[in-house]
Symmetry: C2
Subunit: 180 residues, 2 copies
DNA sequence: GAAAACATGTAATTAGTTACATGATTAA
DNA sequence: TTAATCATGTAACTAATTACATGTTTTC
């Protein structure tokens, strides 16, 4: 139920914001970490209000409602952030396919893995571009954004290397090599 | 909708199996890649039968039904396996928390990251145990299982290193260091 | 005779997606 | 005046989880 905590956290960062404002942040900054749809977000803000974890602090034109976290909301958020262990993502579509690669000819299995390597390499390059555009940025948000970005860089590099190694395992020569 | 394809794939591997048999494989072999509940699996087998991607090939005692993939099912499975690009897992609970680490004192943020490093190291050790128990195993299933295991080893190593690096970034000394 | 294992199914709930539906304000 | 942006809300559907519900066969 992390959308709830993402919303609380964004309100804690911003002080106050409307659903529309939050949606903008989800689409800009959290798109690759915790996407949310408009429908889901407005529904969640309603539930958070009922639970008294946030409250409407201002109403503006066009039906705009500005929300802020309550004391209870802040507490709930910090409990989640530091006390609750992050749930690891158990489902992995790609590894599921690897499990079944024995059902197709080795050459097609190899192609699959090399395709994954290429996709990872592409992602890596895209992130390197983001990294470059970030040099010179200051502030605490830049620090944590940089840390998350570094995760992506290492993840995509790992995936690229692994997939190329795995493709090697499927060839006669590769099967004799040691992993690493 | 990968549960559908996981079920098709397992039936393709096995030739035929009951819902109960498949559930055993999900719990043993696919637990860390694509978990499924009993309720979900039986429901899916019903849908797959309606869609004529599988069919009941035998009925036994205790209401047992043995399923096998149809020609259409095999086709659908192979299309999924090789043609459809794997969907990358977009939501990452841990990175979401990293995004908000600026909201708590640096020492608590550092603790959070070192906790993640420890969890990753623990996972790595657990997988190394699995790896050892696998040496000597033969056959194509062992090859692909080994490839998936290697992903887990590299992933956990990456996460451990990254989290320790990130914790370093949050200290005065660490902030001056270069990433890598 | 009791427990374990085999075997299937449904109901209720939650999280998330897509689509539908409406309207106000601002900038070109 | 019209298009873009701002702004909110509901409905229908899918995937997944937890709980409920039942019964048979084998093994100790």
């Amino acid at each position: 139920m992390s959308l709830r905590h993402a919303a609380l956290g964004l309100l804690a960062l911003r002080g106050e914001a409307s659903g529309y404002d939050l949606l903008g942040i989800f689409n800009e900054s959290l798109e690759h970490v915790w996407p949310a749809t408009q429908s889901q977000l407005y529904t969640e803000l309603g539930k958070l209000t009922d639970a008294e974890l946030v409250q409407v602090v201002a109403e503006g034109g066009r039906g705009r409602k500005a929300y802020a976290v309550t004391e209870a909301g802040r507490k709930e958020f910090e409990h989640w952030l530091l006390e609750e262990p992050p749930t690891t993502n158990r489902r992995n579509d790609m590894l599921l396919r690897v499990f079944f690669l024995g059902l197709v000819p080795p050459e097609q299995a190899r192609e699959f893995l090399l395709g994954r390597a290429a996709a990872a390499a592409e992602m890596h390059e895209r992130l390197r571009g983001v990294e470059e555009s970030l040099t010179g940025e200051q502030g605490p948000l830049a620090v944590h954004g940089r840390i998350a970005l570094e995760w992506g860089l290492r993840y995509s590099a790992m995936q690229d290397e692994w997939a190329r190694w795995a493709a090697g395992q499927l060839t006669a020569e590769g099967a004799a090599e040691q992993p690493g």
